[in-house]
Amino acid sequence: MALPISYNWRNLFVRKLSTALTFTVVTVVVFVLAVLLSFAEGIRASLSSSGSRANILVLKPGSTAEGTSIILPEEYARLPQTPGVARGPDGRPLISRELYVQTSIPRRGPGGAPANVAVRGVEDTAFAVHDEVRLVEGRMFEPGALEVIVGRAARDRYRNLELGGEIPLGRLGHRTCRVVGVFEARGGAFESEIWAPLTLLFDAYARRFVSSAALRLEDPAAAQAAVAYVNGPAVNLEARLETDYYRELSAKTREIVVLTTILVGIMGVGAAFAVANTMYAAVDGRRREIAMLRTIGFPRGSIMAAFVVESLLICMAACAAGLGLSLLVNGVRQDFLSEATWTVLAYELRVTPRTLVAALATAGCVGLLGAMAPALRAARTGVIEALRKA
């Protein structure tokens, strides 16, 4: 026989101050957890939707990212022979030569510090290879004109990147380019970049080489053979799946998750102590009541369950409140400087189902751990003594 839930509910309001303070403690813990995880989730969401499993990315052996890679024209010339490369309607292989440079642009908002934004020089084939990229505003750049298109995230986060805005590019910063279009890429990393015609960047940066090449494969299953070919003596460059490249970049999120786990773990244990304290007080304050319940036939188990339920009620309400508060940061744009590429990735803080599960688990653990010992004491209450004391 279990005690009705309304018994627990009404008990919470007997000690309003204690309940409120405990509620606040757990709310803050859940809030901190959700906010910290939203950083990791945002980055993960952005990087995991970057790249395609049908693409392989070719870099110079030894370089760690596109920004530090140099592929010379004679090296590039060996790539079209790669087995399994898809061909476009005109019969040419779908290989995108790309030059990856960066420029310093201030963030939006007052006192925005400058950030290193990636600028990618591309040819027409880039849009066949990276087919997730599509224009959502304005138009495509015209070859030969000083025009660029920008990713949606970059436009939202950095100054002067709206349609019609002008940014200086080039080795000397003397090519003023106009933003003529805004593109989306399924929320991936490309959206933090500026894309310009390859010839424009060749000229502006006085470069005769590209940074990387992306190859579209006819069949993703053939990726292994293509990678082996490119890595082999015939080409002697370094290829990897595009998705693998971005997964490596998201290594940073693991650091955040580890840090979050440690910090929230410590805070959670602290919160469990606070909950235990409150529950002990609740048990001690209701000894007569518990003895009474035992006398009229409620078994020890129900008494124990009642206190656990009470603690869980506080914690779950706090969990909901903490998550609710964390929705305030949902969608806020942040960026971070990747240590591998030295360019920024703009992403949105995300409160995801994964965050929800983590928050529920944390609040549940805090509630359970905090209630265990007090509930045991309640269940062991000696009926005779408790009643005699009254």
């Binding site: 405990t22 901190v32 950083f39 290193n116 910063g173 602290g270 102590f273 001690d284 304050g285 960026d335």
Partner: protein
């Protein structure tokens, strides 16, 4: 004396509650100490940068654009006597990795003839300086990097650069820089890199950026403007900042860690206040009749408040002590010492930070007891005694 005895009795009559409160204060204080240690570490790093009176000269368009190698002579010509502008050191970043190890390095090539003067905080011994000047494959590895990779003086190491020449380069460790503020960076001869590049077919010699050591703060301000003016309207214009501003630009882009950790520390202190306030309000409720009796016997309201404050102070201070001592011992006297954190690499938990944490714990105790103490002072004895069950 009697009052102390009373305090002691009060604390021990519900030991579980006292223990739980201490723990609930100790853990947030631990987080406070850890977060602030990181923040202090970053600030110490930046302060060292500021103290060194160095300027960083980069390309105006972007730091990735290299500068001409001839700029060093041009900058030096601004002060031919070398009394205000002490030295100019050209630097090139090659990143780098060790074969079969995913951890990235931060290796920099520097002009070997001016490195020692430009970076005196490395405090190399005369023997190490002689080695540095003698061997063009010499490399100085930061203390934390040396520990991570298990290097010691005299080791030969091979680094794969992330930039041209893209071919393995061999070095000989001549110092693990135990006294440097920057525990992570590796320094080697830039000339060696230039030669390696030339051998691999990269002809053009350019320099990533220049660091310039100035004699005084006034000279620093002077040359900051003078250098940019010198190269104005040339194909490669420069952007000159003091070293602190230069470093800070990287740090704020890394999640703005110092600011965010400070916010986190403040939030956890708030949690501790809530937890302690909870205990004090429960204590107050439990002892309502007792406190009323004290007042009925003639003790003043201020004394009754003081008893509550003292109890809170004791609980929070013990909690604070435990919370601060834990990380202090763990990060100074156990293997956790080698634990690496982002940005500063090594967590240096200092006594000063722990002391500050103790003060904060005391502050928590005052806040937590504020409401019950006020209630106790204002308590109406008659009503309180009448309410006795």
């Amino acid at each position: 004396m009697l009052r102390l005895a009373y305090l002691y009795r009060n604390l021990t009559r519900n030991p579980m509650r006292a223990l739980l409160t201490c723990a609930a204060v100790a853990l947030p204080i631990t987080i406070y100490v850890l977060s602030m240690s990181v923040v202090d570490g970053v600030n110490r790093f930046l302060d060292n940068s500021a103290r060194q009176l160095r300027l960083a000269v980069t390309h105006r368009a972007s730091i990735i654009n290299p500068l001409p190698a001839g700029y060093r002579a041009k900058i030096e010509s601004l002060d031919p006597t070398r009394t205000r502008l002490l030295s100019v050191c050209g630097i090139d970043w090659i990143g780098g990795k060790i074969e079969g190890d995913p951890r990235p390095l931060s290796a920099l090539g520097a002009d070997h003839d001016t490195f020692i003067q430009t970076f005196p905080e490395y405090r190399l011994t005369p023997g190490e300086i002689a080695e540095w000047n003698r061997d063009r494959r010499a490399i100085i590895v930061g203390a934390a990097a040396a520990r991570q990779f298990g290097w010691s003086v005299g080791d030969r190491i091979t680094i794969n650069p992330s930039l041209p020449p893209y071919q393995p380069m061999e070095f000989r460790v001549i110092s693990t820089a135990p006294r440097a503020e920057d525990p992570l960076t590796l320094w080697f001869h830039r000339q060696y890199l230039v030669e390696a590049r030339r051998q691999a077919g990269w002809e053009e010699e350019r320099v990533g950026f220049y660091f310039i050591k100035c004699a005084s703060q006034a000279d620093l301000e002077h040359f900051r403007a003078a250098i940019d003016a010198l190269f104005a309207n040339t194909p490669d214009e420069t952007r000159t900042q003091d070293e602190k501003a230069f470093m800070n630009e990287f740090i704020t882009q890394q999640f703005n860690l110092p600011r965010n950790l400070t916010i986190l520390a403040a939030v956890t202190v708030f949690v501790a206040v809530m937890a302690a306030a909870n205990t004090m309000s429960m204590n107050f409720r439990d002892r309502l009749n007792e406190l009323a009796t004290l007042k009925a016997m003639g003790f003043r309201g201020t004394l009754v408040s003081a008893i509550i404050q003292a109890e809170s102070l004791f609980l929070c201070t013990v909690g604070g002590l435990l919370g601060a001592l834990g990380p202090y011992l763990a990060f100074n006297h156990t293997p956790l010492r080698d634990f690496t954190v982002p940005l500063i690499q090594q967590l240096d938990v200092r006594a000063a930070t722990c002391g500050k944490a103790m003060l904060i714990a005391a502050g928590i105790s005052v806040l937590a007891a504020l409401w019950p103490a006020w209630l106790a002072a204002r308590m109406n004895v008659v009503t309180a005694l009448r309410n006795l069950e």
